[in-house]
Symmetry: C2
Subunit: 231 residues, 2 copies
C-alpha cells in the first residue's frame, strides 16, 4: 500500500488550526484550576460540583486533537521541524488532559474539606494556583510562538511552586500537631497542594517539549534539581 499523497496546500493551515485548539484547551484547563481553588477559598460547594462534572469539553478536545495529530502526519508526511511540532502537540495534549483530571482531584478534596471547619486562612494555596495557571499559560504561549525565553521562565516558576509546596507542608504539619481536630482537613489541604504541584509539573513538561521542539536539544534530563522530584 502506498502512502496517501501529500496535501501540502492545507498543511500549514491545519497545523495552525491544531495550535489554536491546543490554546483553547489550555484556556479551559487553566480556568478549571482557577475555579477549583476559588471553590476552596469561597467554600462554595456548587462551584466545586460544577468543576467536578465539567470535564467533558476538555475530554472532547483531547480526543479531537489526538486524531488531528495522527491525520496531519499521515496525510502530509511533514519534515523534521513540523513533525517535531506535531509530536510535541501529542504530548502537550496529554498533559493538558491530565491537568483537567487534576482539577477534578482538587474539587473532590475541596468537597471533603468543606465538611470541616477551616484550618487557617488560605494564602499559599491560592498563590500556588496562580503560579500554576501562569505556568500553563506561558508554556502554551511558548509553544505557539516558539518562544524559548518564555519556556525557560516556566522552568524557573516551577521552583517557586515547589518551595511553596514545602512551606504548606510544614505549616500544616504544625497545625495538625497542635490541634488533632485539624488533622483531617489539614491533610486534605496538603493533598490539594500536591495536586497543584503536579499541575506545575505538567506545565514544566510542556515547556521542556517546547525547548526540545525549537532547539532539537533535550533539556529534560540535564537540569539540576529536577522539578519532578520531592517527597
Amino acid at each position: 500500500m502506498e502512502p496517501i499523497a501529500r496535501v501540502v496546500p492545507h498543511f500549514h493551515e491545519d497545523l495552525e488550526g491544531l495550535k489554536a485548539r491546543l490554546l483553547v484547551m489550555g484556556g479551559l484547563a487553566e480556568e478549571r484550576v482557577r475555579a477549583s481553588v476559588q471553590a476552596l477559598v469561597e467554600r462554595d460547594p456548587g462551584q466545586a460540583e460544577a468543576v467536578r462534572v465539567g470535564d467533558e469539553p476538555i475530554n472532547q478536545l483531547h480526543v479531537d486533537i489526538d486524531q488531528r495529530c495522527v491525520t496531519l502526519i499521515a496525510l502530509n508526511q511533514p519534515m523534521a521541524a513540523d513533525l517535531r511540532a506535531i509530536i510535541a502537540a501529542v504530548k502537550i495534549n496529554t498533559d493538558l488532559e491530565r491537568v483537567g483530571d487534576l482539577a477534578v482531584n482538587i474539587v473532590e478534596a475541596v468537597q471533603r474539606y468543606l465538611t470541616h471547619l477551616p484550618v487557617k486562612p488560605l494564602i499559599d494555596i491560592p498563590r500556588m494556583a496562580a503560579i500554576a495557571q501562569r505556568m500553563l499559560r506561558d508554556a502554551l504561549d511558548a509553544y505557539v510562538r516558539r518562544d524559548l525565553a518564555l519556556a525557560e521562565q516556566v522552568l524557573a516558576d516551577d521552583d517557586a511552586l515547589d518551595n511553596l509546596k514545602s512551606q504548606v507542608f510544614l505549616e500544616l504539619l504544625t497545625h495538625m500537631r497542635a490541634a488533632p481536630t485539624t488533622i483531617e482537613p489539614a491533610l486534605v489541604l496538603i493533598l490539594i497542594s500536591r495536586h497543584l504541584e503536579r499541575i506545575g509539573d505538567h506545565a514544566t513538561n510542556i515547556a521542556e517539549d517546547v525547548i526540545f521542539m525549537v532547539t532539537a536539544r533535550d533539556v529534560r534530563h540535564h537540569r539540576p534539581g529536577d522539578g519532578h522530584a520531592g517527597a
Copy 2:
C-alpha cells in the same frame, strides 16, 4: 523540500527494535518501583539512596526512544496502523519516564519516613506496589502483543489500587488521631500511597493507548468511575 525517501526494508525491524526498547524501559521502571518499596519495608537507607540516584538509565532510554520515534516517522511515512503504534510509543515512553520519577518521589519520602519509628506493620502499601508493578508489566505486554484483553485487565486492576489507596488513607488517619507522634510518618506513608496510585494511573494510560491503537476506538473518556479521579 521533498520528504526523505521511504526506507521500507528496515522499517519493521526498526519498529520491533523500538518495542524491545520500551520493554527494557518498562522493566527498569518496574524494578525501580519494587526497589523503592523494598527500601521502605526493610528500612534500608542504602537501597533508598540507590533508587534516588539511579534514574540515569531510564532517562537515557527516554531520550533515545523519543528520537527513534521521530526518525521512524520521518524516514518511513508509516501507514495508519504503524503510525498509531509509534504515536502510542511516544506516549508510553513519557509515562514510563514519569514512573521513574515517581520512584524518586517514593524513596525521598522513604528517607523521611526512616527518621521516625515505624507507624505500623506495612501490608497495604507493599500490596499496592505489587499491583502497580503488575499493571506496568501487563500494559507493556499488551502493547507489544496488541492484546486487548490484557489491556482491559490493567483497567480493572486500577480499581483495586484505588480501593487500597482509600483504605490506607482511612487507616493512617486513625493512627494520626490516636497518637500525635505518628502524624508526620503516617502522612509520609499516605503520600507514598499516592505516588503508587499515580504509577497505576500511568499504567492505565498505557493500557488506554493500547486499546486506542488496536481498535482505533477511544475509551479514554467513556469509562464509569475514571481511575484518575479521587481526592
